[in-house]
């Protein structure tokens, strides 16, 4: 069964249509890539799925494990196992990263009926995960994303994914702005999540990341519509020929 099933989904912002009838299905255990030129609606798709305000769904549906995703509040979607790694992670001045991560983890654990973690238990887990992502420990003490470099912000997103263990991760251009070493670390972080009950939607502008995270399927999004789907080889073709060829199809 499809873990995430999007059917003919349309959405607009301020009366402007951005998503124009998207259909997409990500079965459990699969990783799909969504590629497309700037402004094609990739981030909009991720926000609509995560439930951000200001986006009006004008048609179609999105279900998660058969449950109507669009009817849920953002935090309910998070509790159901949906995670979004933001293209532009948000700064929370004065909010300690450790405090934020633990509060988030405990909020999710609570909905799963798992006991909350105290500060010591949390630190132990966080340190392990951070080590795997080559993150310095002092990032726990700093304000959430405040003064983080671009790469640190992205790693902090992957850290949150690793801690929250979602069933569906949407990674919105988590690769952009990363050097090759950081890219590998991030890819390892995602690959480590691979499991029969884990799916991911990897939004990327470049094929580069897909050398390290081999997707099961690749979809091309142009002007708010999926214009082409295929296997991993599609990403390579796009890299070579650019979006011009598919753009005409849109």
């Amino acid at each position: 069964m499809g873990m995430l099933k999007i059917e003919n989904l349309s959405a607009e912002i301020d009366g402007k249509t951005i998503l124009n009838g998207i259909s997409l299905e990500v079965p459990a255990g699969e990783i799909h890539a969504v590629m497309g030129p700037n402004g094609s609606g990739k981030s909009t798709l991720s926000y609509v799925l995560a439930g951000r305000e200001g986006y009006e769904v004008t048609g179609g549906s999105a279900t998660f494990h058969g449950q109507d995703l669009l009817a849920l509040d953002p935090e309910e979607r998070a509790a159901a196992g949906l995670f979004l790694a933001f293209q532009y992670p948000v700064e929370l001045p004065g909010v300690g990263n450790a405090n934020f991560l633990r509060t988030a983890l405990n909020a999710i654990r609570k909905t799963r009926g798992e006991p909350e973690l105290d500060a010591m238990q949390f630190l132990k887990i966080a340190r392990e995960r951070m080590k795997a992502l080559s993150m310095p420990e002092d990032m726990l003490k700093r304000g959430v994303n405040v003064g983080f470099s671009g790469g640190e912000k992205k790693r902090n997103e992957v850290l949150q994914m690793a801690l929250l263990r979602p069933q569906l991760a949407i990674l919105d251009e988590t690769d952009s702005g990363l050097d090759i070493d950081a890219l590998k670390i991030v890819a390892d972080g995602v690959n480590a999540q691979r499991a029969p009950d884990f799916s991911a939607l990897i939004i990327t502008h470049y094929q580069r990341l897909l050398d390290y995270i081999i997707p099961d399927r690749v979809h091309v999004l142009v002007k708010g519509r999926i214009v082409k789907s295929g296997g991993p080889e599609l990403a390579h073709a796009l890299e070579k020929e650019g979006y011009a060829s598919v753009q005409e199809a849109a």
Partner: protein, 495 residues
Amino acid sequence: MPAVNETIEAVQSVTDSGYKWGFETDIEMEFAPKGLNEDIVRFISKKKNEPEWLLEWRLRAFALWQTMEEPRWSAVKYNPIDYQDAYYYAAPKQGPKSLEEVDPELLRTYEKLGIPLREQEVLAGVEGAGSAADARMPIAVDAVFDSVSVATSYKARLEKEGIIFCSISEAVQTHPELVRKYLGSVVPQGDNFFAALNCAVFTDGSFVYVPKGVRCPMELSTYFRINAKSTGQFERTLIIADEGSTVSYLEGCTAPMRDENQLHAAVVELVALDDASIKYSTVQNWYPGDANGKGGIYNFVTKRAACRGKRSKVSWTQVETGSAITWKYPSCILQGDDSVGEFYSVAIANNWQQADTGTKMIHLGARTKSTIVSKGISAGQGQNTYRGLVRIGPRASGARNFTQCDSLLIGDKCGAHTVPYIENRCLTAKVEHEATTSRIAEDQLFYCRQRGLSQEEAVGMIVNGFCREVLKELPMEFAVEAQKLLQISLEGSVG
């Protein structure tokens, strides 16, 4: 911004029912006749068995008050207060007694409020066996219920160190020389309208004296509770830190939910001598009124510290979440050379609350230093004003002040105002002022909610982050409480 609107609604719905301290205690009370005149002043003084000099002191204040007018310079707006339509003395029939004899109904009240009145048998090995979990630092509490102090804990233990911690009524009886010397020495009777009123009719409050060279071994705290209807509370607190001593003091306050406005006009005086240091923290949670602006406490308070001694230090930290109106400017008169004044403040104005608060730092001595950090949060229709004065006298060579005023707005019907007054009469002094105004951004809320936090938790988290520099000044035991309180007060105001 739909997210913010929704949050505001959510906060409002919580605020309506969210004041968890709004219950009333049913206990036999004794009142003075309603109204205010010389006889009432005499009545209060007699009730407290005061010496003649204090009665005269009160009467002088009352005479002054009658010639004065309510101040109008602040930004707060309210209907005229009818000073004749209130009780100026309300006390549980059963007078103050030792802890063991306190009316169980009162003990239950404080238990319900989460105030530890009973002395814990903690500090394993010292005073009986306590489990490790209980081995927290004890906190000495003076509990003031309407007009009187009903109990003070850990007195005996503090007396061993020579520290006096008791109600001011008791201090008048047991240490009249100290009270007489310092009462009114920082805030004179005619200082302002509300202070004069307080001098005339003050009923109870706390008294602290820390002798030379003594570090107070535990937090001292006073818990103020207004319970009776149509009653004003006029508390008076006096803290004296003798040379080289240190003390940390905390006050908390709550009141039942009532449709009427109740007046609270306190005076707090602090005196720090050479090398002494006083840390004074307030968590003010008087009933703020309902979501439509009905009821709530009018909080008109004069708080002032005299840093008389060289290298003395006074630090005010306040978390002001309650009251319909807050009018208070905890100040420092930096007389002693190298003395230090600090003011850390969080003030919330949600729904129809109005806060006009800030500080005065009066630099008189050389190399005096002051720091002001003010965090104002406005939500609903709330109006929040920071009003601060930094005055540097001609003798204050090398004096320094740093002021930071940050405002956070939630929604678009509230307001934030910053009114700094700077008077510098010394060429070598340095004064810096920074101010920012921001809104809780929709993307911050969404980011938190995407991680599983509810709207309320997200608001609480962002607001607590905004206030971090102030909250970290609070004693540990209270910082956590204050954080929760901020979230509750804003549940609905998108903090």
